[in-house]
Symmetry: C2
Subunit: 209 residues, 2 copies
């Protein structure tokens, strides 16, 4: 073919395969022995590539976590569109969206702690496409609420998104750090989805009397 073979040239395929192999090996090891305890050497050994190859695909060890959260966010994107299109009070849709998004962390909280930490580092750099997109989706939902007369129109949408985002991230991260079994926390922590709903409700209703 003389065209650049729209993403299916042998090269592109091999490249994708290699990235996936490295990614899979890395995540598997992270789950088995923890993020910090896993070395890049172990990852490349399991993925059957040289060490240098790892850094061709992921500039830093932590970048694997970034890629993981990209995949996770992609899954949630469909959900967000669904919520935007759904009927019913925006308040309920907002809370349900965030609750269902948070579910992914419940699968592997230990690893998620590092994923979220990495996310937070990048979350606020305006050049991060991932979070810009997420921000935009939330913004649409808020605007929907304003148009429906459910939310106050004076509140700037961007500010509202930032506040809700902070509360979402803060809640998730606290839950990840406070679960039973986490070092420095023997007590049972709190139920993530319930607390998330409660805190978002608090923001919606306001603390003032």
């Amino acid at each position: 073919m003389s065209t650049p073979a729209a993403e299916v040239s042998r090269r592109a395929r091999k490249k994708d395969e290699t990235r996936t192999r490295i990614f899979r090996a890395a995540v598997a090891l992270f789950r088995e022995k923890g993020f910090e305890a896993t070395t890049v050497d172990e990852i490349t050994e399991r993925a059957d590539v040289a060490k240098g190859t790892f850094f061709n695909y992921f500039p830093r060890k932590e970048s694997v976590l970034g890629y993981l959260s990209e995949l996770q966010l992609a899954e949630v994107e469909a959900l967000a569109e669904e919520m935007l299109a759904a009927q019913g009070p925006v308040r309920r849709k907002l809370i349900e969206l965030l609750q269902r998004t948070a579910r992914v962390y419940e699968e592997d909280p230990e690893l998620s702690r590092f994923v979220v930490q990495e996310s937070m580092k990048r979350a606020h750099t305006p050049s991060d496409d991932l979070h810009v997109h997420w921000h935009r989706l939330l913004a649409q939902l808020i605007r929907q609420g304003q148009e429906a007369g459910e939310f106050r129109r004076e509140a700037p949408v961007d500010r509202a998104v930032s506040v809700l985002g902070s509360v979402y991230m803060g809640t998730v991260f606290m839950w990840l750090c406070c679960r039973k079994g986490t070092s420095g926390c023997e007590e049972a922590g709190f139920p993530l989805r319930e607390e998330l709903a409660a805190r978002i409700s608090l923001v919606l209703d306001g603390l003032a009397a």
Copy 2:
């Protein structure tokens, strides 16, 4: 003396001196060349101690940042007490407290980014005395607001503190990442104290109509 010499034995003094010398050298270097670009070797060289000594006082390079934020928080503590005792609407006191607390980050935003990042890592572990204390101070202020009839009594104090804390941290961190000159952000960012006040107000008044 036969008593343990209430913290002023020669040993204790020397220990303190050494810790301070290491701390000062570290912070000076962080400001000069950035946190990541500074090596532990450089720090110990400037402080005139062996490398191992550094790790006697700070288990990890990042711990220096933790100690720095302890010192900063201690300064702010007096301010918090002052606010608790002051007259006037709790809303205003709360906003002023957070605004004035945030000021410390404006002095050296570049370094503060790492300080705050480190803080966030520890912020949510229940065993961190520093943040427990901060949490308690905020809680007292909120309770004051409830008793004055300014804040809703149904809202659990702990939840309110967590929400306000998340918004505070999120705002500060976003500002630190989005200032003019930060990589990936040419635009001017936003004025920290104004945005902080606006977001806290949003939480107090609620987003719902």
